[in-house]
């Protein structure tokens, strides 16, 4: 990969002029990308939905990777895409999903004066940082080429190799810092584990206990087997239609409880009566009254047991 990156660097970047100015191609790249980045960053500032804000940040980061490559830092450009955009921002998105993706942020400010103070702080920072940059006098930019690279940073052909150069420094002068950063990463991983760890307050319900519970529930009307599936009629193979037991009676438990609560369950008795009629040689739909669904809904509503605690648990 390093060979590919270095060759890409060689082709993508243009050297600096003798006065330390960037080349025209780089200038075009910059002036195209910079507005995108600023707009995307403002998207982070103003987007109502967190996901949109995350997408803005991703945009900033990817364009930033372009600028890194343009600035003779192809390795960092790749890392920016792989680590930042690929790993860190994905982590952000995961957490967003975990926390609730539709929780859109109200933009109404609740702290008095905070918005003005923030504006003052932001503009102030912009002014002082810009001021520092503008007023500072830099020497003419030297640029990065074979003459400024460490010896270990040159490949076999004598061309500068960015990953090799970084490696030479990171594993050379910054070896200890690298070790410490490794320890930091391990600690951070452990810290995340500890922070998100949940203490188990009740014993885990394994298969054995489930079996025992179901056998015990048999006495109070439970079943050992899975409940019957709903909708087993020729014409009404639907979720809201109860199944018929071997005795020809509808099995109430076969319809989803949620449908019952919502009142969207079909009346089993109606279907049972129709079956009886069909078996007796009559027409199935003959007696279906126009108002039947309403009655059925009412019947279903009185039938069901709106247990508030169980509703709470469901939600």
């Amino acid at each position: 990969m390093s060979a590919m990156v270095s060759s890409a660097a060689a082709t993508l970047t243009a050297g600096l002029t003798s006065t330390g100015e960037a080349s025209t191609g780089e200038a075009i790249l910059f002036w195209v990308l910079a507005p995108i980045m600023v707009v995307a960053s403002l998207g982070l500032l103003f987007a109502r939905k967190a996901v949109h804000a995350a997408m803005s940040v991703i945009t900033v980061m990817i364009t930033l990777a372009f600028l890194y490559v343009a600035q003779d830092a192809p390795f960092l450009g790749v890392v920016q895409v792989v680590v930042y955009t690929g790993a860190i921002m994905m982590l952000f998105l995961f957490v967003l999903m975990l926390v609730g993706v539709d929780a859109s942020d109200s933009l109404v400010e609740t702290i008095k004066g905070q918005r003005w103070i923030a504006l003052l702080g932001g503009l102030g920072l912009l002014v002082v940082l810009g001021g520092v940059v503008v007023t500072a006098t830099f020497p003419p930019a030297r640029g990065l080429d074979a003459t400024t690279y460490p010896a270990a940073g040159l490949d076999s052909t004598g061309q500068p190799s960015n990953p090799q150069g970084l490696a030479a420094i990171v594993f050379g002068s910054y070896a200890f810092a690298l070790e410490v950063v490794g320890a930091l990463l391990v600690t951070a991983a452990l810290g995340a584990l500890v922070l998100t760890h949940r203490e188990r307050l009740i014993p885990k319900r394994d298969q054995k206990t489930r079996v025992k519970d179901r056998v015990r529930a048999l006495a109070s009307g439970g079943t050992l087997t899975p409940l019957a599936a709903p909708g087993v009629y020729a014409r009404h193979n639907a979720m809201d239609v109860p199944a018929l037991g071997p005795d020809g009676q509808p099995v109430e438990a076969s319809v989803n409880r949620v449908l019952k609560v919502r009142g969207q369950e079909a009346d089993a008795d109606l279907y049972a009566a129709r079956i009886d009629r069909v078996l007796a040689g009559g027409w199935a739909d003959e007696d279906l009254p126009a108002a039947a669904p309403v009655d059925a809904i009412e019947a279903a509503e009185t039938d069901c047991d709106p247990d508030p605690t169980s509703e709470e648990a469901d939600r």
Partner: protein, 690 residues
């Protein structure tokens, strides 16, 4: 008084250096250990020893007494130069510059005291067996009495001021415990009501506190001595290295180790200590209240022995006082004032024990006066002290016998005519009475008259002193005769003024025998041991107390009094006769009616009944200002010290109240503050750079 003059003129050796004790004297520690062990056993065994507790209680001092007699005989038979012996018991305190040996000084002075304490003490212990027979706490009583005897023996046998102070505090503790012995309601034996118990414990506290004031003097004196001389031993410890720091106090004083001013200061501090312990003016107010204790306690501690410890201290410190005539003069003045003070108070008291206490105060005033007179009086102070120990103890025990008979009544106005009912008590009390008033040829005559005579001696550089001291001592003799006769007549003569339920009876033998023994002492002690006749048949080897004390207090210096001794004796006797006669007219004669309730009396009488308002003076001068000073301190502590602390705290709270306003709990606000801070910082940095 020719005879006395002769005895005083007997030449004697100069101060005798101590030598390592040999023979019985080397076991002197057992004098202390026996009663101490008895006290420890009685206290540690507690109620288990109740049944037999009085046996070790009286046997221990009796054994000490036998030992004391043996040691006395040993010293008597030895040469004069060998009469000061030292028992070294090892190193006591060895802390850098302070190097004290634990040792006992067995010399004529301490042995005299040992004999007095153990002999009178044993008699009083035996008396107490009967006196306290009904009391449920008799065992504890004996434990405290033994503790007292041990501490008192430590005091007199000590070879250093520090060990003396140890015993000094020990007797103070025992005194405190015994004055307040009936400090709780008791209904068996001695009936003590709650109010009475409270009064008793207040009395014990008063004695304790008054004694602490004296102790302060003792501590300061010891500190000065140590700072000046680097030692607290009286005399050089024999067998120890004799470098300058190892010399005893008196040796260094003799060698010029102290300036006169310093000696005066130390002497005054020792006088303060003596005033506290011996109830001398102005610290005398506790003694009257101390009569709240059981009567044997009054007899032993507050008449015969402990209260004389101050006199012992002064006489023991004689080399110091010889160097400081002004301190000695102060001693004499204090003695003279107390002498009159006690006598005046004694004339007015109706409580038999308090009258006797006032008398004790007065008699100790005589001793202090004698001690303050210097070489002409040291020996007489001790002589009178011993004689007083006999007759005053006898009279206190007699008073206890009377109280025993009258159901713990102490008001003399409810006595009278007891002579017929209590023959033994009456007879023994009569001997004590005659002895104290100085009836010719009884003990007081031989012990007190020399003091009066010595008070009339003009010493070098003195002007008014002999006349003042002499006349005061002489007047005191007359007053003594009056108040003691008043006491005697009111109790035993005249008409009976008993309470209807009183059935006076003679006390049991266990109580009367000690009375008889003390009466014999009161009558004969002076003639046998003080009087030194020039008759040819009188054995020349027979001990004479004044001569016997010479190795310790030096020979009795003899000077002619300003008035011829015969005049003094005659006038004194005349005054005594007048006092007795007045008392007889007013309180004794069969025709006299003594009212059962005290008449109003003259202002002087009222003042004397109130101890000449010493308590009021103390209250006004010390207690009330002290109370207000304490309140002011408490107020200052609350307002200023605590106020400063609380003010700081309030300030911190106020600052915190302001500081918490920005603490809204909104992270974003904190972040905004930080951001603005960063901006400001960068601006400052830029501004500085540009």
């Amino acid at each position: 008084m020719t005879t006395l003059t002769l005895s005083a003129a007997t030449p004697s050796a100069e101060a005798v250096a101590p030598q390592i004790a040999s023979g019985p004297a080397s076991a002197a520690l057992w004098l202390i250990l026996l009663p101490a062990a008895s006290a420890a056993v009685l206290l540690l065994l507690g109620r288990r020893a109740d049944r037999w507790g009085h046996w070790p209680g009286w046997i221990a001092p009796a054994a000490s007494c036998v030992m004391g007699v043996i040691i006395a005989v040993q010293l008597l038979t030895a040469d004069t130069a060998e009469r000061v012996q030292h028992v070294d018991l090892g190193s006591w305190i060895d802390a850098g510059a302070l190097n004290l040996r634990f040792g006992l000084l067995v010399d004529p002075l301490s042995v005299t005291f040992v004999l007095l304490i153990t002999f009178v003490g044993t008699l009083i212990h035996i008396y107490s067996v009967a006196y306290m027979a009904e009391d449920v706490n008799r065992r504890r009583f004996f434990a405290y009495l033994n503790l007292f005897v041990a501490a008192m023996l430590t005091l007199v046998l000590a070879d250093s001021y520090l060990l003396l102070f140890f015993g000094w505090e020990g007797v103070g503790l025992a005194s405190y415990l015994l004055i307040g012995f009936w400090n709780h309601e008791v209904d068996r034996g001695h009936k003590i009501s709650g109010a009475q118990a409270l009064e008793n414990s207040v009395a014990s506290k008063k004695a304790f506190v008054a004694n602490r004031i004296g102790d302060l003097g003792m501590i300061v004196a010891m500190g000065l001595l140590f700072a000046q001389l680097g030692t607290l031993h009286f005399v050089s410890v024999p067998g120890q290295a004799q470098g300058m720091g190892d010399l005893g106090v008196f040796d260094q004083v003799a060698g010029g180790g102290l300036t006169t001013a310093m000696a005066t200061g130390i002497g005054l501090m020792l006088l303060l200590a003596a005033c506290g312990k011996s109830a001398q003016f102005p610290l005398q107010s506790w003694l009257g209240d101390a009569m709240a204790g059981p009567t044997p306690v009054s007899a032993l501690i507050h008449a015969a022995t402990m209260v004389t410890a101050g006199v012992y201290l002064i006489v023991r410190s004689q080399p110091l006082f010889d160097l400081a005539p002004n301190a000695r003069l102060a001693v004499a003045i204090v003695g003279a004032i107390t002498l009159l003070y006690g006598a005046i108070v004694g004339c007015a008291k109706d409580d038999i024990k308090k009258a006797l206490a006032a008398s004790t105060m007065s008699q100790i005033g005589y001793m202090m006066l004698a001690a303050g007179l210097g070489p002409v009086g040291y020996a007489f102070a001790i002589v009178h002290l011993v004689g007083h120990g006999f007759f005053k103890a006898g009279m206190f025990l007699g008073a206890g016998s009377v109280m025993h008979a009258m159901g713990d009544e102490t008001d003399m106005r409810k006595f009278g005519h007891l002579a017929t009912k209590m023959r033994v008590t009456w007879a023994t009390f009569a001997f004590g009475w005659l002895a104290i008033i100085g009836f010719p040829f009884l003990t007081g005559f031989f012990t007190k008259d020399p003091i009066i005579e010595a008070a009339f001696v003009r010493q070098e550089g003195q002007t008014w002193q002999p006349w003042v001291f002499g006349l005061v001592a002489m007047l005191g003799a007359g007053l003594t005769a009056f108040y003691m006769s008043r006491l005697f007549f009111m109790t035993f003569e005249g008409k009976s003024r008993w309470e209807p339920e009183a059935h006076p009876h003679e006390s049991p033998r266990l109580m009367t025998w000690p009375l008889i023994a003390l009466a014999v002492g009161s009558a004969g002690f002076g003639f046998v041991f003080v009087f030194k006749p020039s008759w040819s048949w009188w054995p020349g080897w027979w001990p004479n107390l004044a001569d016997w004390l010479t190795p310790t207090v030096g020979p009795v210096a003899h000077h002619e009094p300003v008035v011829h001794w015969l005049v003094i004796t005659v006038v004194t006797l005349a005054l005594v006769a007048v006092g007795v006669w007045q008392a007889w007219i007013r309180f004794g004669a069969p025709s006299t009616v003594v009212p059962r309730t005290a008449p109003v009396g003259s202002p002087l009488t009222v003042a004397a009944r109130n101890d000449l308002y010493q308590d009021h003076v103390n209250n006004g001068l010390l207690v009330i200002p002290g109370t207000y000073a304490t309140r002011a301190l408490v107020f200052t502590d609350g307002a200023v010290v605590d106020g400063a602390v609380q003010g700081v705290a309030r300030g911190a709270v106020a600052v915190g109240d302001q500081a918490r306003r920005p603490q809204t709990g909104f992270v974003r606000q904190y972040a905004a503050t930080m951001a603005l801070g960063v901006v400001v910082l960068i601006v400052i940095v830029l501004a500085v750079q540009i």
